[in-house]
Symmetry: none
Subunit: 201 residues, 4 copies
DNA sequence: GATGAATGAGTGTTCATTCAT
DNA sequence: GATGAATGAACACTCATTCAT
């Protein structure tokens, strides 16, 4: 990993735990193993590290968002397991590549902390945790409905319920304390219980 | 308001926006209108301000929790409007005296920020936002069920759905950006839409 | 002397020798014998020290300028030595209380250094070394002329010659290297030689 | 222009405005358009830039000083306009090739700033602005006197007056703020007024 | 109850310089 | 000739805290 990448990695870990302001350049550098002056060769100032992280996250989620379409397109054509709405729903959350992904998870924590005094981050936070997921679910369920797998009239409330349940679980298990295997498993279990009840019954 | 109270008030406002570490004694004192040395007459050190806030919050919610029982006891005996399960549910959330209450709302924000590196606060955060509300709902709905207002077998999932919906709304509207009248209204609307659908239909 | 005054004193000595930018807060504090943080109790930042010096100088020269009038008023009424135009001219320069005065002399040096990149200081520098002295001489010589001690028609050129000579001497002896007794004496001698030739012959 | 020359040029411009210490290698390099490490290919260290500038200036004024003799030799043999003492005096100051010359003017400013804490520069400053010009005038006027254009007995005071007037004008117009066309013109006018009065009347 | 004055440790950042490429 | 990457020392300034008054 390049020095620049190492700095961003260490900075994100620290920022997401203690907040941007509470982490000092000295903290980052001593963890990375460089002198403070070296950091300023790679970043113009402390804010630039944060901005670079946000920028990287933006690019990253744009990538993910373009992938989610591939997953959820043409549900009717899919055979077997994938046709199962509950499986599609779970897949659409990209749990492993998004919520469990260390970079994304830490960015969510960082945004959770910083959103209260940084409007740019607040908007990204709202979009990432509320707006985008809701929209994605809406698309999927509409497709499932038009494919006849689901009754058309319930679409809105199904989306709302699913979205609220998944959101609550994210805050409860994935954005609360360290992201341990235990918490991941508890999250997974609750997701599957919910999906089983909601889409199979 | 006493100087001590003013300090706690100002500190909470600042801590909940920028985080404990990012706020300096200077910031607090210049806002309160006292010299830094004066603060140390009222508080042992910076940490003591935070601890006092947490302590005040603990006492405050214990108070609220004891009240909630009065609200939710003996639903069957109540007449008219209060017997409506949806009204009882909404009441039980103590929206005005808890989620909308400036002190409580700011404390929730502060805990949201600090929970990632302070286990004591994390536990209080989890209890306050996830464990306690779930339990309260469970009690209420069980009472409603045993009073025959609701079928016994659905109790668990009704609680889960309600709790997840209310939790999501709290994060989306009340712990996101400033607590404006606009956000409060949007929150209220969504709460009533949900209750209407869930308990009246 | 108060800590604040000591800081200003030391700062002026250093600024006037090495220039504002080249002097560090550390330099000043170690000479004064205080910690850097203490300096910031007395001054809001480094620039504030410079501004305070400039302000003090402004007040100081306004004081001096009001005194010069007393010296030069009503030359005709004065008897004996003071009626001698050359003595009046020399007096009017307030050599001991201005050019030789440590505070003023160091301020002139400081302004000489800083004028090239600080328009506020440049204006004060121009006023102090060129505009004001010229005007003062003009007033005195006009009074001497109207008192009949001097022919009216030569007034302008007498002022110009005197002013240019005195200015040159100031730069040559008083704003060049350390202000040693040797340089002061050389300056004095040249002043008196000039006055003797100009006003006695 | 070679990179080395560009560096010296930029450095002189910056040094003469803000002082040697206040200008950073970074400042110079970013203006020149090279990386800091590149500068060290051309100069041993920061001090070396200053030394090179001083050395270049020394060579330059030696050149000028040898030229001045050609201008002022054998005044009696010259015919027409050049025989006019006032014209010779003005010429001898080499206004365009020295005082108005960008390199020399900026070097004088730099020396004015640095002389207070650098004895080598102080000596050069004194020689350049006081000693040499006085000597040159003395030579010229002595020649004019021995050629019978001027009475022998006044020589010393004519030189002193001329030198002081020209010196004062230099500080007032050419070493004060930016060297604008306006200031150049004001300087020129005053020079000619003085010469007209001193040597033509 | 409150403050003026001080401090040691720490903040983010810039400095001139080096050296392998 | 020029650069990318690094560094130790210094920079101006802020931190939480103390203590005599």
């Amino acid at each position: 990993m390049s020095t620049r990448d190492k700095i961003m990695d260490v900075a994100l870990n620290m920022f997401s735990e203690r907040g941007y302001e509470a982490v000092s350049i000295r903290d980052i550098c001593s963890e990375v193993g460089i002198k403070e002056s070296t950091l300023y060769y790679h970043f113009k100032n402390k804010k630039d590290i944060l901005d670079s992280l946000v920028e990287k996250f933006r690019t990253h989620i744009e990538d993910l968002l373009s992938h989610v379409d591939e997953i959820t397109e043409n549900p009717a054509q899919k055979k077997g397991k994938n046709a199962d709405p509950s499986v599609q729903m779970v897949d659409s959350y990209m749990i492993d590549s998004y919520l469990f992904d260390p970079f994304c998870n830490l960015m969510l924590r960082l945004m959770m902390i910083e959103q209260f005094h940084n409007e740019e981050i607040r908007e990204l936070y709202e979009k990432t945790l509320f707006t985008d997921p809701y929209e994605i679910q809406m698309n999927i369920i509409k497709r499932l409905a038009s494919a006849g797998v689901m009754p058309e009239e319930d679409v809105e409330w199904i989306v709302r319920e699913t979205h609220s349940y998944m959101t609550m679980l994210t805050f409860k298990y994935l954005l609360n304390g360290d992201l341990t295997e235990k918490r991941k498993k508890a999250y997974y279990k609750e997701v599957h219980d919910f999906m089983a009840r909601r889409f199979k019954a």
